[in-house]
């Protein structure tokens, strides 16, 4: 049995027929072809699939697609504004906050969630917030620097 769901993804209304068990991340990747959101584990540990759902950073492997019915979703593909990179995207690039790039979409989206709630976090607050996102390449240092740098840039621009 399938369920018809509808949600706003990156500003576009998207509908689809899914099984009750379909994970949100599979709906985004397989139904909407938004493959920027990656899957890194099957136990909700790694955070690679983090997206923004109704203003909160959410691991999209841990939500069912039907739970997202009617919600507003932003994925990594929807973060730049008319081709202009989000401050966090720019900062990850500037600070060498990524290597293989696989954790990056989730890492950036988790950071979006952090800066939405706490625009000027301390280093330890950033590290604490990113505990739910694994990166195996960078040792996290340049990711932390990127979030600090984006925070400053956003403060400056506000």
């Amino acid at each position: 049995m399938t369920h018809t769901i509808s949600m706003t993804v990156n500003g576009n209304t998207c509908t689809g027929d899914v099984e009750a068990r379909t994970l949100l991340v599979d709906f985004l990747r397989d139904h909407l072809n938004l493959t920027g959101t990656n899957i890194g584990c099957d136990t909700s540990q790694c955070g690679s699939c983090t997206i923004m759902m109704d203003g909160s950073a959410v691991k999209s492997c841990t939500a069912l697609a039907v739970q997202a019915n009617g919600s507003e979703i932003i994925t990594i593909e929807g973060l730049a504004n008319n081709g202009e990179l989000h401050h966090l995207q720019q900062a990850f690039w500037d600070e060498h906050g990524l290597q293989c790039g696989y954790c990056t979409p989730g890492m950036i989206m988790a950071s979006v969630g952090l800066l939405d709630q706490n625009p000027n976090p301390s280093e330890s607050e950033i590290r604490h917030c990113l505990e739910g996102n694994f990166c195996r390449c960078t040792g996290y240092q340049n990711i932390v620097k990127a979030v600090q740098s984006a925070s400053q840039a956003m403060e400056g621009g506000a």
Binding site: G36, I39, C100, R127, F134, Y140
Partner: protein, 785 residues
């Protein structure tokens, strides 16, 4: 050095990653694509009596189900071992096992279905009648008489024995020693856990008999060779295209030729439909080749003044249930050859027993044999300093190979190319303020705080490697690299490298090399890698080889382009080549002393393609290729200093300060190099403090998820201070040495040394990794906290 090498150029690959446009294998969707799921053994050791697939085959949406015998009947070959040591016993390993499973996760059957959810459901409907057998685990314990045999034909589960060194000099050192330090170490089982799980997709075109395989590999050309020569011999190499597009981290675990790379294309051809398999993380834990897992028994001979004279080490290396692609190399050739470490001493002997157990196969993991060597040396040297009452840096310095003795021939085969270990430690002590740290530590200890300072240093062989040498040591191929350069008629450039980037940033650093050598802009060079149809040949990326071997190949190709441009310019300007100079700033060719008389890079490129006026004998066009076979390995070195504090009440360890100084020779891109070092340190700290692949007595992988297998997180680190010295490598014209693995090689002993130092008042001599809070807390309780 021109205008791009040595600059922290921002990475050209990043825009696609930060915008969610990475081209990972799991993202490939082809029309009519079917999905493969693989049934994994729940048992570590069991006979397969029968498999009933009828319910699975009858399920709606299931296309077919295959077992091991189907593939054998269909012509697949056994998984090859492409690095072997003398007299090693190689057990049979089929892509899908036909008769007996030998580790949890061994492949039993493959379902292909219209949808990945259906494929997973169908696995549940396959009934396997297993006859469960007793399992054997433990690198050393598995060799005991009476243990179950993983493979009936391999006695005592011993696959190979291998030794290296000067046994006579070693024995003499111990006979004449003033002091002998004994140490037993465990270098625990590690699981790489690249963030991208492995995946494989395949498309067969029956009409033309062409096969395309997409796979998460660090070396697609080697996979193409392995498939066409061994595992899928019905495929012709020239009609087989292997693509490793963006690969989300490897750390060694994606070097190897895996069973799924055989199963998926075989099924695609069988059902004449494109197929894809993507590992779940659980499958990664059960099937990605794992790392380390040594039991090491060693002793060090010294004079009373701290002069090291000899090292004797017996290693037992757990190879798992089968020998993975290059597994015999890891605990032997690449490990014991580094037993000289940073030190000049004559009496080294090391020997390895490679054993089989009912666990996931073990192969290269970041550092690959070198961390097992550096941990052994740097731990035992540290214990020696403590026992002799010497400062650990002082004892190390006393034994360093002096700067003026490079190139230095060690007693264990290698000829170290260059280094300055005193200068490296000078810089480390200066940046860290070592004396100040020791003073602060003394004061903290007076306050009852458990503060420890640890040092670690290492040298490694990178840039694998001279073809004849690796051949003599057991590799079936040659470890040269291929680089191609195509200058287009407008002067834009495509560079082709056989190296493979899975996070290293080659699209930037290789472009820097090419742009530098041609005097053009980085933005005018596009780097292509990871596709056997586009890149002529390649050996891939592992062993910290890309800059030193792949970079050198491109540099040599660029030199050929330059030569042709100068010849062409001489012809066009009607002057002698001797009167011309190549301008590294803009790629033009000028008449010496007459800058106005010149030909621009783009002008010459167009002239080469127009062919209107070429020197006699010159072919039109402007592209070339070079194979580079290195004359020697490169020998980067590093020195790390760590301060930790142990919480007496919880056993928790906090890293308070971490300083790292590396010598990787000349540097192409300092930002990228630092990134490699920071990431390597994080993985090494993971090994020292958190990570451990644990099997119970039945061979069950207890740490089979990211919940159970503890990896470092963002809040486990302070800001690490990283710096470099540069002793250029004489092994290549770029003067570069490998850097990708250095951090993970040096950090485990540095961290463990620091914790042992913090607990020295409890009489602690050694603690096996990982140094979990539980382990530390128990130690404090037992030793009188």
């Amino acid at each position: 050095m021109g205008k791009h090498i040595g600059k922290s150029v921002k990475r050209v690959e990043d825009p696609r990653f930060i915008q969610g446009q990475g081209k990972y294998v799991a993202n490939i969707n082809l029309p009519d694509m079917a999905h493969v799921a693989i049934l994994r053994s729940p048992h570590a050791h069991a006979k397969i009596n029968s498999i009933n697939m009828s319910a699975a085959k009858a399920m709606d949406g299931v296309i077919d189900v295959f077992v091991g015998q189907d593939l054998i009947d269909g012509g697949v070959g056994k998984m090859p071992v492409i690095w072997q040591v003398p007299d090693n016993k190689i057990p049979d390993r089929w892509p899908l096992v036909p008769d007996k499973v030998r580790h949890v996760g061994d492949s039993v059957a493959a379902v292909v279905a219209e949808d990945p959810y259906i494929a997973a459901d169908a696995l549940e409907l396959i009934e396997v009648d297993y006859e469960v057998l007793e399992a054997t685990i433990g690198a050393k314990a598995t060799t005991e008489d009476g243990k179950p045999l993983v493979h009936d034909e391999i006695e005592n589960n011993i696959s190979f024995k291998w030794g290296l060194g000067d046994r006579e000099a070693c024995d003499k050192a111990f006979e004449e020693a003033d002091h002998v330090v004994k140490l037993d170490l465990i270098n625990q089982r590690m699981i790489a856990n690249a963030m991208e799980p492995r995946a494989c997709a395949a498309q067969w075109t029956a009409a033309t008999e062409d096969m395309t395989v997409w796979t998460t590999s660090q070396n697609p050309h080697i996979i193409r060779f392995g498939l066409s020569a061994v595992t899928l011999p019905m495929l012709d190499e020239h009609k087989l295209r292997v693509i490793s597009p963006d690969v989300g981290g490897g750390f060694g675990s994606k070097i190897f030729h895996y069973p799924e790379e055989v199963i998926v294309p075989w099924i695609a051809r069988e059902i004449n439909q494109p197929c894809k398999w993507v590992a779940t993380r659980s499958e990664s834990f059960m099937t990605d080749s794992q790392g380390r897992d040594h039991v090491q028994n060693c002793k060090l001979a010294l004079k009373s003044d701290g002069t090291i004279t000899g090292l004797y080490a017996e290693l037992h290396a757990d190879m798992g249930a089968y020998l993975s692609s290059i597994a015999p190399l890891i605990p032997t050739v690449i490990c014991i050859t580094l037993f000289s470490g940073l030190y000049k001493y004559p009496g080294i002997w090391g020997e390895t027993t490679g054993t089989l157990t009912n666990t996931v196969p073990v192969d290269a993991y970041r550092g690959a044999g070198r961390p097992e060597a550096s941990y052994l040396i740097e731990r035992i040297v540290d214990v020696a300093a403590r026992e002799l009452g010497m400062d650990p840096i002082e004892l190390r310095r006393k034994n360093f190979i002096p700067k003026d003795e490079f190139p230095y021939q060690t007693p264990v085969a290698f000829l170290y190319d260059s280094g300055d270990y005193h200068a490296m430690f000078d810089k480390l002590e200066e940046i860290a303020d070592y004396r100040g740290m020791r003073a602060a530590q003394a004061s903290a200890k007076e306050d009852g705080r458990l503060v420890g300072i640890g040092v670690g240093g290492s040298v490694e062989a990178s840039g694998y490697g001279p073809a004849a040498t690796v051949g003599a040591l057991g590799f079936y191929g040659g470890m040269w690299e291929h680089g191609g350069i195509r200058v287009h008629p407008t002067g834009k450039v495509t560079a082709f490298t056989g190296s493979h980037s899975h996070g290293q940033g080659h699209e930037t650093t290789m472009a820097q090399i090419v742009a530098d050598k041609l005097g053009i802009e980085v933005a005018d060079v596009d780097v292509v890698h990871g596709d056997t149809d586009l890149v002529t040949q390649g050996m891939g990326t592992y062993g910290s080889r890309s800059a030193a071997v792949g970079g050198e190949a491109l540099s040599n190709a660029a030199k050929k382009i330059r030569k042709k441009l100068v010849t062409l310019a001489a012809h066009l300007m009607e002057v002698s080549e001797d009167d011309l100079v190549y301008d590294d700033e803009n790629g033009s060719v000028q008449v010496k002393g007459v800058p106005d008389k010149s030909k621009a890079f783009g002008e010459l490129a167009f002239a080469a393609y127009s062919g209107h006026s070429l020197p006699e004998g010159m072919d039109p066009g402007l592209e070339t290729a070079a194979y580079y076979n290195p004359g020697n390995f490169t020998f980067p070195s590093s020195a790390h200093l760590v301060q930790v504090e142990v919480d007496k009440d919880t056993g928790e360890i906090e890293i308070q300060k971490y300083v790292a100084v590396e010598d990787c020779g000349n540097v192409i891109n300092p930002m990228v190099v630092e990134g490699q070092i920071l990431g390597g340190i994080a993985q090494g700290v993971g090994q020292a403090l958190y990570e451990h692949g644990v099997y119970d007595d039945d061979g069950q992988l207890v740490t089979g998820s990211m919940l159970d297998y503890t990896m470092p997180r963002a809040d486990n680190f302070p800001m690490i201070e990283s710096d470099r010295i540069e002793t250029p490598s004489p092994s290549n014209s770029l003067g570069v040495k490998g850097v990708g693995e250095m951090g993970s090689i040096t950090s485990p002993p540095a961290v463990v040394n620091a914790v042992v130092d913090a607990l020295s008042d409890y009489g602690v001599k050694h603690i096996d990794m990982p140094l979990t809070s539980e382990k530390i807390w128990n130690l404090i309780q037992t030793n009188g906290g």
